[in-house]
């Protein structure tokens, strides 16, 4: 992964991070896996049986889960608060859309290339952004996001400008909502599985160690900058993939997907769902998307509701809904006989909670 002197597995061992993050007893692990399978099955069945318009919405929500999980690789596990992942989402979407508009790439080529373009774009941006830390990193990525937005808006000949790109860029076999749902769900499932592997690899463990205690990891001779850059690039790769799936859903690409509020969306999803848990952002993506899409059928005040949810979570439950679920389980357990009473708060404990 990186040109570090000690290898990641060794570092992880020194730091005392467990090699496997799947903590808990075998029974709870099996239970968790069963819950995951049931959830995936439910989503697939819904996607295939819902009316076309609803299947499309579900497809969109599924593609957003990838955006959120990919962003959370650097947010929750890397401790890097990026307000710039919309750039890579946009690179993915624009690769497909512009490939069609300029007749330079066909759909398949564009879909394959999109994540790589995102990763390549992430190298220089990450190298610059990672020179700063904490708040300044957030502000710098936010600025980059706005820059990308302004460029997309003004370079009309290249990008279609404020109009964006709309058209028949998706092949006809993918136009049926159920087919495109399956296509999206399959890609997202594979991508999330790979991200799971990354998070639970020695590299992922070192990344978390950097988040928790940067100085100590540096002292062990680990090249922190290289690790963070690698994580940034991997995250960008999958954000771009999610962006290309956005085109499958919307058959369009436009500047607004690049701006800072768009970049904030996966961050909010991760915060809502729980950024210290791998599957937290999945929960967050569903909650956010369904709230903003379906809530408005009952109330116009979806902004108010989402704002209130964000506020409540960030002030009361910083470990998100997934964390709350963990605490709820712990609380239930506490009501049973005493021996299992040891319950700690996030981050470590919430890890791996679906």
């Amino acid at each position: 992964m990186a040109r570090t002197a000690p290898n990641d597995a060794a570092v992880a061992a020194v730091l005392g991070v467990p090699a496997s993050a799947a903590t808990g007893s075998l029974a709870s692990r099996v239970g968790r896996a069963a819950a995951l399978v049931a959830f995936v099955a439910l989503v697939v069945v819904l996607g295939l049986t819902l009316a076309p318009a609803n299947a499309l919405e579900l497809q969109y929500a599924v593609s957003l889960t990838l955006f959120a999980v990919a962003t959370n690789l650097i947010l929750g596990f890397g401790g890097l608060v990026s307000f710039g992942q919309g750039i890579f989402y946009g690179v993915g979407a624009y690769t497909v859309a512009l490939g069609w508009m300029h007749q330079s790439l066909n759909f398949t080529e564009a879909m394959v290339l999109a994540p790589f373009f995102g990763a390549v774009a992430a190298i220089p941006l990450g190298m610059l952004a990672l020179r700063t830390r904490r708040l300044y990193f957030s502000l710098l990525t936010l600025t980059m996001s706005q820059l990308a937005y302004v460029i997309a808006e003004n370079q009309t000949n290249l990008t279609g400008g404020t109009n964006g790109v709309f058209g028949a860029m998706v092949p006809t076999w993918l136009l049926d909502p159920h087919t495109s749902f399956l296509f999206t769900a399959a890609i997202v499932a594979v991508a999330i599985a790979i991200l799971w592997k990354v998070v639970h690899s020695p590299f992922g463990l070192v990344l978390r160690a950097i988040r928790d205690n940067r100085e100590r990891v540096e002292a062990l001779g680990v090249n922190v900058y290289a690790h963070e850059l690698a994580a940034f690039v991997i995250s960008a790769f999958f954000c771009s993939l999610a962006g290309s799936l956005f085109v499958v859903y919307s058959q369009s690409s436009y500047p607004e997907i690049l701006n800072w509020t768009a970049s904030g969306v996966p961050v909010f999803m991760a915060v809502i769902g729980g950024m210290y848990s791998f599957f937290g952002p999945v929960v967050g993506a569903f909650v956010y998307e369904f709230a903003s899409h379906y809530l408005i059928e009952y109330t116009q005040d979806w902004q108010l509701v989402i704002g209130a949810v964000l506020l409540a979570i960030v002030l009361l439950r910083p470990d998100g809904l997934a964390g709350s679920l963990g605490s709820l389980r712990a609380w239930l357990r506490r009501r049973r006989p005493v021996e299992q009473a040891t319950v700690a708060a996030a981050p470590e404990n919430a890890e791996g909670t679906p």
Partner: protein, 424 residues
């Protein structure tokens, strides 16, 4: 600061998709219909801009559409079916417009769509209606690209396009200045319509051999909250004439701000001084400026404003809404008439058959008989130009125009060959 004036609505793409509900805020609730097949009802959809500084166009346009639908329903509906209109706000955002169109077609089973205000939104809706084979009638958005570069057999345009409208204004100007050398500036919203209509104006000046020099061009964002930096650059260049392609509230803001520079004393502004801007500006309306409009009620009786029922429509609209109909309402009314004619002629609501029936058809409307020529589906509608008067009109008690010049469709339209050449 350009960033200050950035697009008013920097909504996230997620929220953009869900803005439909805001229609309710704008006073036009999105009604949910049972769909085309049930209970003898068919649904048509209109996604348009109902919020922000250009909302007046969308709101009055929708009133015109609703008016026409009510008239059809009052006469027993269409093919025996009652017509229902669903509407939603697109916030002038292409993505929202496309998403609204898709929702209307998939959820509400809309059999026809009536166009948005903004050409970029219209262009985003075109692939959607083409995919689902539903006809769309543009009566406000008018970018020439909608019928050329983005051509689809399902789109019809009953409004003068971005070649016709600026050509009409240029004709008027050429007549006014003769051989005199003039300096010109342009000011237009920064999206397809703005660039297209400015290009159309410049091309028309060339074709008419006007002796002009272009001294400044500004493209502020549509619905910009702050145009000051663009305006000061335009003012600083001291043009004698300015072609302004803004409309609705944006044109009102421009006129007020420009007046603060004393701009109208030395510069003749050529802009869409239609009913709403003139009424909003009231005494502040710039006398002597050149106005153009696509269907001004005060041109009643002239070509394109002389169909059966026009006078009655103006009167009943005034009775209902306590104001004269905007061009948008008049064109919206005629757009519905066009669709209804196609349905009757085809004997079905099927989008492909209705579109085929309308291609090349001569449609009787309140504006007169409109020919939707087969090559690009552009209706042969005229454009109207006049000079903003200094006093309120004796008949209408509003500041309108001194006289009305009608630019006939045949004099300002592209030929079919030219139109097809633009298809690329």
């Amino acid at each position: 600061m350009r960033v200050l004036g950035k697009k008013r609505r920097a909504r996230s793409y997620l929220t953009a998709l869900t803005v439909a509900a805001l229609a309710a805020t704008a006073g036009t609730a999105a009604t949910v219909s049972a769909g085309a097949s049930s209970g003898g009802t068919v649904t048509v959809g209109e996604s348009t801009t109902l919020s922000g500084s250009i909302a007046e166009l969308g709101q009055t346009g929708l009133q015109g559409v609703q008016f026409a639908i009510n008239a059809i329903n009052a006469h027993g509906g269409l093919l025996g079916k009652h017509i229902n209109v669903v509407s939603a706000d697109d916030a002038a955002t292409p993505a929202t417009g496309a998403s609204n169109a898709r929702n209307f077609i998939l959820n509400d089973h809309a059999v026809a769509m009536f166009g948005p205000i903004v050409s970029s939104v219209a262009s985003a809706e075109e692939p959607v209606v083409t995919q689902y084979k539903v006809p769309i009638f543009f009566y406000i958005s008018n970018d020439i690209a909608l019928l050329t570069k983005d051509y689809t057999p399902y789109a019809f345009q009953v409004v003068p396009n971005t070649v016709m409208e600026p050509r009409a204004a240029a004709d008027y100007l050429a007549h006014m200045v003769g051989k005199k050398k003039i300096t010109i500036g342009t000011f237009a919203p920064n999206y397809s319509f703005g660039t297209s209509t400015v290009a159309g104006f410049i091309q028309a000046l060339k074709d008419l051999h006007v002796n002009y020099k272009l001294v400044n061009q500004q493209f502020p964002p549509l619905e910009a909250t702050n145009i000051a930096p663009y305006l000061s650059a335009l003012v600083a260049a001291h043009p004698e004439y300015v072609f302004n392609a803004q409309f609705g509230g944006d044109l009102v803001t421009f006129s007020k701000q420009a007046a603060q520079y004393g701009f109208f004393k030395h510069t003749k502004v050529i802009a869409m001084y239609s009913r709403y801007p003139l009424q909003s500006l009231g005494a502040g309306a710039p006398a002597g400026a050149i106005g153009f409009d696509r269907a001004p009620f005060w041109a009643l009786g002239k070509t394109g404003m002389n169909g059966t029922g026009m006078a009655a429509f103006i009167n009943s609209f005034k009775a209902k809404y306590h104001q004269y109909p905007s061009a948008w309402a008049i064109m919206g009314y005629s757009a519905v008439q066009t669709w209804a004619y196609g349905v009757k002629k085809a004997g079905t609501f099927d989008g492909t058959k209705v579109s085929a029936a309308l291609s090349g058809a001569n449609v009787p409307t309140i504006r007169g008989t409109l020919n939707l020529r087969a090559c690009d589906h552009q209706a042969n509608v005229p454009e109207y130009v006049g000079t903003v008067s200094a006093k309120p009109s004796a008949q209408y008690h509003l500041r309108l125009w001194d006289s009305v010049f009608v630019a006939q469709a045949k004099d300002i339209m592209l030929t079919c060959a030219q139109s097809k050449a633009l298809r690329g």
